[in-house]
């Protein structure tokens, strides 16, 4: 199932679509993504935490790096190169 989740992610499907397609609860798709991320097949994208922490203006900027509660992932670069290389 892990490989199928990865494949569907590479096709650009979202969590709900994958859960529907594989007929498993959404939590388990998310779980499979965590496992894939820990294996390096997909990558967590920092949603702004880094940008504001390193911003040269952080001492006097008018505020406001957005916090973002969802987790954002992309498929790891080496997987994409492989699939487009074929």
């Amino acid at each position: 199932m892990l490989e199928r989740v990865l494949k569907l992610l590479e096709e650009g499907k979202d969590v709900d679509e994958i859960a529907g397609e594989l007929n498993v609860p959404r939590e388990e798709v998310v779980g499979a993504m965590e496992v894939l991320a820990s294996m390096g097949y997909i990558e967590r994208v920092g949603a702004g935490e880094g940008a504001c922490a390193t911003c040269p203006l952080r001492n006097f900027c008018p505020g406001s790096c957005f916090r973002f509660k969802g987790k954002v992932y992309t498929v790891a670069e080496f997987r994409l190169e492989k699939s487009s290389g074929k």
């Binding site: 199932m1 892990l2 992610l9 294996m39 969802g70 987790k71």
Partner: protein
């Protein structure tokens, strides 16, 4: 006698620390694992008069040793440092949790107890677990616990005690793979047989890790068997991979998942929830490309409504307070130039900006609530879907969302885009997204000229700006060949009721910066503007520097119905967008004077142009630093052109319609 050691292992966020605290009470010690900065928590558990040292291992999803956390947890278990391993398993996401369980059992451990946590939540989600069957199937004791309410802890302690003292025995299941994979495991195990490694490790585990090309296991085998044996094994693995044409670690992990899936059928039932849950239904509306967008407008309309309804009275109060303060202070300053500088320059300029503090604070408050509730992630999904249609890569949505706060970190955040061309497009359209500095200008003009319709005015300007950003992105990516589309997955958080404490704290943190900026950049800007408008002769004669400067641009400004004052304001706005307000404040002296001097249409054009014309200096600098000065200059030029076109159209269409 040394204390027996109990290790708590599990995925992150499953309730390990909750159970750890419940087991050890206050007898805890927090330090670091040797040589790394991973936190190590230890505590003492006393049961039946015997003391146990409980160790809270770092939470991990697997034991593949891709991260320090995983390595720490794995080494601890592998060395046999624990007399009892309590594997905390979150009942709400069994498959993911049992994946780690299988990795642990695969090591050949036979002292594992499963603490099944969050059973209360699982029940709510309609997950029915037959614990007795689960024990039989997995071959290890399973204790349902709720660490928060202390349920099941006594039984857990008893099992720990029995396991540590050799009373409890178990025959854990270990994952089985396809016959082909099993054959490879057998082959490698054969090679390892009879070596010193056989005494210390499960050969099956070593074989599987070698198949997965695990670095530290490869080193281990090299140390014990030398390079000749290792080369033989690795050569064999290379052949296997050649046959599969896929990486072995993914095949093994995937089959492990399959194995778990089969086991789970024997003890888990998902009881049918009647239809979709409310939160699912809400998600399908809020993330829908059309309804979601309508909802987005609706939500932001309400946000602005809220900000204006509660913020404007306070803004007026502050504005009056600053004017009264100026009037009171004026007679006390004898020196005419100094009086002018302080009263007509600093207080009028900085005061007019500072009076918007309540609006800024309320906006951040509303946004914080939306973030905490979980709405922002849904809004992001909608934006991401739309952005893709306009040729922006999914990843660029993060920099663009950040831009609503401030464009500078947003430009820097484009670094997450690997493709150089995607990155450039995202960077160049970024300044079109109205930052919070422009929010003060938009609210200032909306509040002064559009009583009763402030929220609608503000939303229409934001929407236009976002639309322009999308159009420009679409145009740019038509002329710049696009890179490979990288799939982008946003995992939605659960809806939550926000905690007022974090929300207010966070809003305050953000709005504090607004005050700081008023005290630095805006202060200096106000002094400069005052100087330019008072020298060499007072304004009104046509001879002040400000007038001369503005008059130079006035013919151009007339095309969009604006005058020299707008030109001067916009010039100063390049330093910081709030300066547009402070300049107007200084030139006119009061809000009433400004309202008397402009029509609502002119104010609307000014708000629109302020939103779209040139990035502020800091953003220009950031673009130059992240690309080069040519692209920075290009951004300035295209934005001036765009703002002019929009300004001229709005002015002429508006005039023709009789506004």
């Amino acid at each position: 006698m040394a204390m027996k050691v109990v290790a708590l292992a599990g995925n992150p966020n499953v309730g390990k620390t909750t159970i750890f605290n419940a087991l050890t009470g206050l007898r805890q010690h927090v330090g670091n694992w040797p040589g790394v900065t991973v936190e190590k928590k230890e505590g003492v558990l006393e049961y039946n008069g015997q003391k146990f040292l409980v160790v809270d291992l770092p939470g991990t999803y697997s034991l593949t040793a891709h991260s320090i956390d995983e390595l720490v947890a794995r080494d601890f278990l592998l060395k046999g440092s624990a007399d009892v391993v309590v594997n905390v398993v979150d009942a709400t996401a069994l498959m993911r949790n049992l994946f780690l369980t299988m990795e642990i059992l695969e090591m050949g451990l036979n002292n594992v107890i499963i603490a099944l946590s969050k059973v209360d939540l699982a029940e709510k989600h309609g997950i029915e677990i037959n614990v007795k069957r689960m024990e039989e199937v997995l071959g290890v004791p399973v204790v349902p616990v709720n660490g928060k309410e202390g349920v099941g802890l006594e039984e857990l302690k008893e099992k720990i005690y029995e396991m540590a003292n050799g009373v409890l025995h178990e025959r854990p299941v270990v994952p089985k793979y396809d016959p082909e994979v099993e054959r490879e495991i057998e082959h490698i195990t054969g090679v390892l047989q009879g070596t010193p490694l056989a005494e210390k490790y499960s050969l099956r585990w070593l074989a599987i890790k070698l198949l997965q090309r695990d670095d530290s296991v490869i080193k281990l085998v090299l140390r014990h068997l030398g390079s000749e044996k290792l080369d033989e094994i690795m050569g064999h693995i290379a052949e296997v991979e050649e046959r599969y044409k896929r990486a072995m670690d993914l095949i093994i992990a995937s089959q492990k998942y399959e194995f778990i899936d089969n086991l789970m059928h024997r003890f888990v039932r998902y009881t049918k929830e009647e239809g979709e849950s409310f939160s699912d239904q809400l998600d399908s509306v809020l993330t829908h490309p059309v309804y979601g967008l309508i909802a987005l407008f609706g939500v932001f309309y309400l946000v602005f409504k809220f900000v204006f309804v509660f913020g404007l009275p306070l803004q007026e109060l502050l504005d009056n307070a600053f004017s009264s303060f100026g009037e009171w202070l004026a007679p006390h300053i004898a020196n005419e130039a100094l009086r002018g500088l302080i009263v007509d320059g600093i207080i009028a300029g900085v005061g007019s900006v500072l009076s918007f503090f309540p609006l800024v604070f309320l906006l951040f408050l509303a946004l914080s609530v939306l973030e905490d509730v979980g709405y922002m992630a849904r809004a992001a999904v909608v934006m991401e879907k739309i952005m893709r249609k306009f040729g922006l890569p999914g990843k660029s949505f993060i920099p663009l969302v950040l831009a609503f706060g401030c464009n500078v970190p947003a430009v820097m955040a484009t670094r997450t885009l690997d493709d150089e061309r995607d990155r450039l497009v995202t960077m160049l359209v970024n300044p079109l997204i109205p930052c919070s500095a422009r929010l003060s200008v938009i609210s200032f003009l909306a509040a002064a000229f559009f009583a009763g319709h402030q929220a609608l005015t503000a939303v229409s300007i934001y929407a236009t700006a976002v639309l322009m950003a999308l159009l420009v992105a679409w145009l740019l990516s038509r002329f710049v060949i696009k890179g490979e589309e990288s799939p982008f997955i946003i995992e939605l958080p659960e809806y939550l009721i926000p905690s007022w404490k974090t929300v207010t704290l966070h809003s305050w943190e953000r709005s504090k910066e607004f005050i700081k900026k008023a005290g630095t950049i805006i202060l200096l800007g106000s002094m400069a503007i005052w100087y330019l408008s008072s020298y060499p002769v007072q304004m009104g004669t046509g001879g002040s520097y400000a007038e001369r400067l503005g008059m130079f641009f006035e013919p151009y400004m007339r095309l969009m119905g604006l005058d020299w004052k707008a030109a001067v304001s916009l010039l100063f706005g390049i330093i910081a967008k709030e300066n547009v307000i402070s300049t107007y404040g200084i030139i006119y002296g009061s809000e009433e004077a400004i309202v008397g001097a402009m029509t609502p249409l002119q104010a609307y054009v000014l708000a629109m142009v302020t939103t779209l014309y040139v990035p502020c200096i800091a953003t220009i600098g950031a673009i130059r630093a992240e690309s080069n000065w040519k692209w920075a200059a290009f951004t300035v030029v295209y934005m001036i052109a765009l703002a002019s076109i929009v300004g001229i159209i709005v002015w002429n269409v508006g005039s023709a319609l009789g506004y």
